[in-house]
């Protein structure tokens, strides 16, 4: 009797353990797994957001399909990383020469509170003319970041101001809106420019 009870408990215990393991697998590796952070951005055709460019045009991911596209996130009150990214990109575009005009290059702000359409217009005016600045309501910026799997966070600074932590990678899409690759912050020009050329060539392949 006692032995039978023990077996029963043992079986129940094994069952619970098995179930726990199964639930664990389901949640972590199985079909119930959450989408991993830092995964690939969606294709542009699967994104949905409405923003305003620095010339007050209503824009969204649909406007980018048809030409190869380069997108990055930042904010104009950023003293170091953002102007560096923008001047790096301006340098890559200069090296591409005429090919640069066949691309969409979009800077999306993660700080719409300070980066109004006027602020974006003034800021992007200092960099390569192909670069467009997009801003809009906070919820639309959040949807855009979600589509690109980019993240951002507002961080207070000691002077009562705030700064923004944000994804500094540059996203490259082909003319069909599929992700080609990403350029990490500070990637040397020798690597960045060939990656951009790849996005431009995939456009040619897609067209034929």
């Amino acid at each position: 009797m006692q032995r039978r009870q023990l077996l029963l408990y043992g079986a129940a215990g094994a069952g619970v353990l098995g179930l726990t393991l199964f639930v664990g697998w389901w949640r972590v590796d199985g079909p119930g797994a959450p989408e991993p952070k830092g995964q690939r951005p969606l294709p542009l055709s699967a994104m949905e957001f409405r923003l305003t460019d620095h010339e007050e045009n209503e824009v969204g991911p649909g406007n980018l399909i048809g030409r190869p596209t380069m997108v990055f996130f930042g904010f104009t009150y950023c003293p170091d990383v953002c102007p560096t990214t923008l001047s790096d990109i301006s340098g890559w575009l200069e090296e591409l020469g005429d090919e640069a005009s066949e691309m969409n290059v979009v800077f999306i702000t993660v700080d719409p509170e300070r980066d109004t359409v006027e602020a974006m217009a003034e800021y992007v005016g200092y960099f390569h003319p192909v670069i467009r600045g997009w801003t809009g309501p906070e919820d639309q910026i959040a949807r855009a970041a979600e589509g690109f799997r980019a993240s951002y966070e507002r961080v207070p600074t000691e002077g009562g101001d705030y700064t923004m932590n944000h994804t500094a990678s540059v996203f490259l899409f082909d003319a069909k809106g599929e992700l080609v690759t990403m350029i990490d912050y500070h990637e040397p020009r020798e690597f960045a420019v060939p990656k951009i050329r790849r996005a431009l060539t995939e456009d040619v392949e897609g067209a034929t």
């Binding site: 009150y77 170091d80 990383v81 200092y126 600074t157 700064t163 932590n165 944000h166 500070h186």
Partner: protein, 155 residues
């Protein structure tokens, strides 16, 4: 190459030892090279300046602070990008430079963050920036202001 140390007591010791002439322990051997900065849009956004700080002496030196008439809150900050590609920025604290070593303040890393600008940073102009060291010594450099899209000391 850079590490934090706290030798705040040193200036006091020098003072108490009754030396009449300023005798700095190391900072007189500091050389600042290739200083540059980017122009600002107005005064609301913080500016940034870059340079190489070289310790040519035989004692370690510790950079403790900055001062400039251009900005009320100049501070050394450091940008970092993590493995997820997310960039963040925070005060760098004190920076010790070992003898014969140098510390580079360059885009995407350490930089002199110029908060609360008193006037716009105009391309083509210069501004003085004073680096303060833990031995009480100060080194002042003239920092040229380049364009907003400048990538280095050559523009």
């Amino acid at each position: 190459m850079t590490k934090r140390s706290y030798i705040n007591g040193l200036p006091l010791v020098l003072l108490l030892s009754g030396m009449s002439t300023p005798a700095f322990a190391g900072s007189e051997d500091v050389v600042v090279e290739n200083a540059w900065s980017r122009a600002s849009i107005g005064v609301n956004r913080p500016g940034a300046a870059y340079m190489t700080v070289r310790n040519t002496g035989e004692d370690a030196v510790t950079l403790t602070g900055l001062a400039t008439p251009l900005a009320m809150m100049p501070e050394i900050h450091e940008s970092k990008t993590n493995s997820d590609g997310v960039s963040s920025m925070a005060p760098a604290g004190e920076i010790t430079i070992e003898p014969g070593q140098s510390v580079a303040l360059e885009p995407g890393g350490l930089h002199a963050m110029l908060m609360k600008l008193q006037e716009p940073m105009t391309e083509g102009e210069n501004f003085p920036l004073t680096l303060t060291f833990s031995d009480g010594g100060k080194v002042t450099v003239e920092v040229p202001i380049l364009g907003i899209a400048a990538r280095g000391p050559e523009g």
